[in-house]
Point group: D2
Chain length 321, copies 4
């Protein structure tokens, strides 16, 4: 495909991930923005809701705008509430749209391709419905999947620290400044909303070990650091081999940066980008893999645009550098 | 009055100021807590809503509890929503309660005594209904009233910076962590909710100059720094005299700390206390007075307890040190 | 001049403003980076010191590198310590360099053109030595200079709130996270380092009124909101005329955004950009002008690159959008 | 021993932990402050360095003051630099002092009693030299030691998140506000300064499993959340038994709060206190124990005063409630 300009609509455009998608798409050389549909903000200026879009004079479009403006070959980024994409997406697909869904609606589904770009490029390229991964699963899976070529660990522990935008922009007491500042908060200690998404992909890659996932909120607007620990019964694979596996898998991936020596993955280094930083160490029975990414970037809107690039045949980096 | 124990009820106990009042009252030697009435949190533990009250096993009481438990001589701290105190307080007063209202309901009213403690001690001591001042007016008035003995300024400018708890605990997008962090926000540029409260007291002390008040939110949970500028037409009063006036007025006030030399009022130094720090400088036509206080302390719950102490005949510092 | 590529050296590249300049210059279509001279970090990777430059493999160059690599027509951004530019710049200028100095060394000087771009475009275009303004003066002067066409105010008050990067990257206790978080801090209450720079330009535009400038640090890495108050004796000029003056002066300026109505200048909206947001209101005797900018953007490195664009004949926006 | 007043000196009083110790000791009913020796701040006011001590008029004492003022039976809190306590403490002990050392100097030593209060009360009561534990080891050991009564785990993983005051008050670029805000940072990925202290105590309680410890800094002045994971080969002990073990060990400990159900340990709930919150869950092979504490409270100065109380025969809570 040539680098013709594609129209991209955003359905459900009033959340943080939607705003980040719009921000990226505005600079994308092969994209023109179509409808920016928002039930709650229809008619209001983008810039009145999102400081990073302040310079934009555009307004949010009213409900139904995507359906009205859609023509075959358009892309629709679905960033609305959970449970809505499931009913809306099929109609868009019928009309020839390519759909990238940010919600969890299709992630446990066989209809859609799971959009963990670095691990699914070919399927994504052939698909018209991509389930864009959650931020926690993205960080955990980027860290763990390269270990699939070794003997399997007996236990997996994922300890993730996230900024609060991961909880969305709906006002909730627990997301207030005065509640988040000065605290570190573990949550989901009994139920694990993101765990099935991780387990499904881990199992598909042959990991049978139990996974213990513990998410935390730290005082940060955006960014995530996830520490994945793979614990082996008979001794972990040699560090040299594990590092080689990561080099092998990610050496040419444009958005993955492997760090070592004195360096550690840093949230500040990936904020506002689609980059992920990874570092792997082996200590006796355990392989520890740290992954830093922006929960709104590689953990949401960034990866969505990366997937769109793959679907449209553009270079993965188009629109990012 | 001897230091007998008084029962104190909190009506509308689910906001930040109420929680701070409860925290202070729990340590107060001459107080026992009565009903902690909360419509929204009735039956739930204090500690599940307020980390600083985590160790408390008490639960919020249901609607109507204050009225049920009230006996003559009790104190009621009214920390509920605006417009409700106006209708509830009279019934409590009839039954012999002393009422301290945190809302703006009575601040522009002649029924109640305005509870700016340092300026109204005697009236407060004789009153059974105190309108507890807002945080912005407290900071501005503590800074400006000592100037009443000099020729009057031609213009007053108050530029205040506040933490976000001043906006309350009701969830609003503008109070979310991701909106407050990384921003400095002026607001109320067209309408001035707190301005009439300031003007009323300034006028009562003979200030006729126009007041321009500009509030700002900075990334901080609690605390306020207010810069008041009194601009004179014929030259400001001499710095020596102005400093003497502040010493005269506040020299023995237990919660007011005058700083000078290399020191500046600091929010960190007053957070969690009922203290206010003031500093005055004179520069050509202008007297500049900085005031730092905790918007939940001297700006709300702290001053309320200070007022209660005055009403009950206790030392002002009772329960604070 | 055509849009040929110019070599730009950065002398003193280890501070926050230098890093921001490098970040902008790396994306600039008409620039190639020359020496990045740093005494303290020579030989070390950019990305090990600045997260935003993490993807760069370049290393800081050793002392003397700018002098070695300089050829006539190159640009040198001087971002080193105060008092050094004064002795180094003349030698660079002799060899045909264009010099933009970030320090205060040349700001009170007649040798250099003062680089407040919107007010000095023509002189900057003809100059080879530009004194890049400080962040506080930039915000105050952008706010006040449009008032020069009206009768002059009797008093000027500037109350500025800044992020801590304005204090530089040299480690000092007062810049530590644990000191800045949770505090609002006025400083320079007795002496005013930036005041002469503001006064010089105000006087050159005919303002004779005393200026009272009060800077504050708030818990923020970068960004500044400055409230300028011009107080008039005989009544302020009419709001309609004042707004028209701002439209007249800034209406076509690519980096100045005038806001009104319900909107307020927002630091979050300008962070990471060279934009400044301004809002003007008139209230009885006072014109109040709020200005938000990024102290590292329009307040330092952004304006430096904007000035460079003017010096080289590029569009002002080159490298920014 | 009766509750007579003991003189307490602080040697090396210019760091965050020393300031917190002074703050607690000032309210302690059975303590009078002796020398507050500080090489760097001698002669300066406490309140000019520490906002929380602003109301104090006392000044730091000069070098040698502790030695001059010491009499037998006094307590010395040693909060100076590492490697100094080792040479100074013996001379103080000879003169009849009780010494509590905040540094790592004596923690791996048999001369001193390790001051993890809940696990060493009796030895502490009989000792005159207590090595006060580090914040990371305190959180990890409180979480893991109750598991000593079960079969031993095959691997231990400790993933800790800390505020930046744990790094001390010496100015370092990595502790600057602008470096800590907006980032989550793992560190010590190759070497582990605190690991030997944890391992020594774990081994003394019979744990032979390898320990993988990963500390992180999050944007927070004070507070720590530590997640300890004990991974078992043949299945973890039953949750019911594990919870019973924690109840058994900590049920009457005045500063330990066990949380469960919907609750999670919260840093905000322990900041400024000597409390620690713990929560234990068992998931297939793994026992996960979360521990929240204030790194300056239970992780340093709070535990030091708690240890002092034990040494002097006071109730553990003396001075805290």
């Amino acid at each position: 495909m040539t680098n013709a300009v594609t129209r991209v609509h955003v359905w459900g455009s009033s959340g943080y991930a939607a705003a980040e998608a719009i921000r990226i798409l505005l600079r994308h050389p092969f994209v023109e923005l179509g409808a920016l549909e928002s039930r709650s903000h229809a008619g209001e200026r983008l810039g009145d809701h999102f400081p990073a879009l302040r310079a934009q004079r555009r307004r949010f479009d009213r409900e139904g705008s995507v359906a009205e403006q859609l023509t075959a070959g358009d892309v629709v980024m679905m960033a609305g509430a959970r449970d809505e994409a499931k009913s809306v997406a099929p109609r868009l697909l019928e009309r020839g749209a390519r759909v990238i869904d940010f919600s969890a609606d299709f992630r446990l589904d066989d209809e859609a391709v799971y959009g963990l770009t670095e691990w699914n490029r070919e399927k994504i390229a052939r698909s018209s419905l991509v389930a864009n991964p959650g931020c926690y699963p993205t960080a955990a899976l980027l860290a763990l999947l390269p270990l699939a070529r070794f003997d399997r660990p007996a236990q997996i522990v994922v300890d993730a620290k996230s900024g609060i935008t991961g909880a969305g922009r709906n006002p909730a007491v627990s997301s207030l400044y005065a509640e988040v500042a000065g605290d570190i908060r573990a949550y989901g200690l009994q139920t694990h909303r993101h765990q099935p998404e991780m387990e499904r992909t881990l199992q598909a890659h042959g990991f049978g070990a139990p996974l213990l996932f513990t998410p935390h909120v730290v005082p940060l607007a955006r960014g995530m650091l996830s520490d994945a620990y793979a614990i082996y019964q008979g001794g972990a694979p040699p560090e040299h081999d594990v590092r080689a596996a990561f080099e092998d898998v990610y050496g040419t991936a444009p958005f993955i940066r492997l760090v070592d020596g004195e360096s550690a993955p840093s949230v500040a280094a990936v904020t506002g980008t689609n980059d992920a930083e990874l570092r792997v160490d082996v200590r006796s029975n355990t392989v520890r893999v740290l992954c830093a990414l922006d929960n709104l970037g590689k953990g949401a809107a960034g990866q969505a645009v990366q997937n769109m690039n793959v679907m449209l045949g553009h270079p993965e980096e188009a629109g990012f550098r």
